[in-house]
Symmetry: C2
């Protein structure tokens, strides 16, 4: 029952983590062979994982030319953040109307973990910052909303990896705390205002600089072979 991790699932999860933690930077080529070799599976499994990542918008696959970590443009970045504001507002409105029993506790506990990771300068902090927003979506109980928010948060992470400062704390943890307060008070106006400000801050950070990419993917992947957390 618990061994639901097919091989392509494992590869998908590992690659996803590696991308979201910015170990694999935008533009990095992801040849099926290399991935298969690194994970000791065939190209078939690697390929399936890449297909799923492509439908998440995390990698781009060009016919007969292979896959690479997606390189969002500034235009796409604007689209992402515009739609993200729309969806996150929806999340907040719903949560102000109805917050699950242990919701606030879960949020506080998550922020604590964010702080720990940040102090330890762990690459996990980058991913955890995004997962705070996914946790918010989960508290609404809508699977579809969770799906969409996950997708858009992933893309945001990619945008920050492409344009943002290296290893910046992507989300101000303070703002997460303020947001939790507003949600506790069921104050949608304040909460929305904080969220907007928060997202604008993230977006602005994205527009500061631009950098470029490095190859050597096999070495990076070895760190992400073993599963979760």
């Amino acid at each position: 029952m618990s061994t639901n991790l097919s091989r392509s699932d494992a590869i998908y999860a590992s690659l996803r983590r590696a991308i979201l933690e910015q170990a694999l930077k935008p533009g990095t080529k992801l040849p099926e062979d290399s991935i298969g070799d690194t994970f000791s599976v065939s190209r078939t499994s690697a390929r399936n994982a890449l297909l799923r990542l492509a439908s998440d918008g995390l990698v781009e696959i060009k016919p007969n030319r292979g896959a690479a970590v997606a390189m969002p443009t500034l235009e796409e970045a604007e689209e992402v953040f515009a739609l993200r504001r729309c969806l996150e507002r929806e999340v907040i409105e719903r949560l102000c109307k109805r917050m699950p029993r242990d919701g606030i506790d879960a949020l506080i506990s998550h922020v604590r973990e964010e702080e720990r990771a940040l102090q330890a300068s762990s690459p996990r902090s980058i991913r955890l910052a995004g997962e705070f927003h996914i946790l918010l979506a989960e508290l609404t109980g809508s699977k579809l909303l969770i799906d969409f928010i996950s997708q858009i948060v992933s893309r945001s992470s990619l945008i920050l990896a492409r344009f943002g400062r290296p290893h910046s704390a992507e989300c101000g943890i303070d703002e997460h705390v303020q947001l939790i307060e507003a949600l506790k008070e069921q104050d949608p106006e304040t909460a929305s205002r904080i969220m907007d400000h928060h997202l604008h801050a993230v977006e602005d950070r994205a527009k500061t600089d631009d950098k470029d990419d490095g190859p050597d993917i096999t070495e990076i992947l070895n760190r992400y072979m073993s599963a979760s957390e």
Copy 2:
């Protein structure tokens, strides 16, 4: 340049159309072998197409148990329409602010096609009704929004296939026309009101008749247990 139709792309497109036009009904099993044979390709290509359909939410794949046309529940249906209202409002707001030059013409032309298909009782009318909303999203110019709306419209179609009346005109074409009028006048309040009404109508239609309760054959069997015939 134009031969970008790989085999799995072709299968994906065909299956998608078949599902959206309700030729393949929710719950229908989709074995890789059958699909491969039907399209004269190998299971590999069929499998890839199924994977993509799964990420669209149009088919469900259970490990080692194969793929089938997805069977959304009433709960999921509510989630879909709730989020759909949110996203379509966003579309309308944007279009009232900025409508492309030939946007109105394109919309009118699309509605004309809808009418033709409806009068011809073509199964295309079902798909065209959904594609009206996708066209609206396209006029915003945001690829991501187009993506999300496409996904959610597809799921809506599936819901209507599962719960709606067979072959009902899914979308009132009148309402499409009214919506175009409001957009032309750049009147977001009226447009939103029409859209809300429109989507509620669709949603209600979904909740009126419940056809066969599909894959849980237990329920079907219950109906046949006592009736000896």
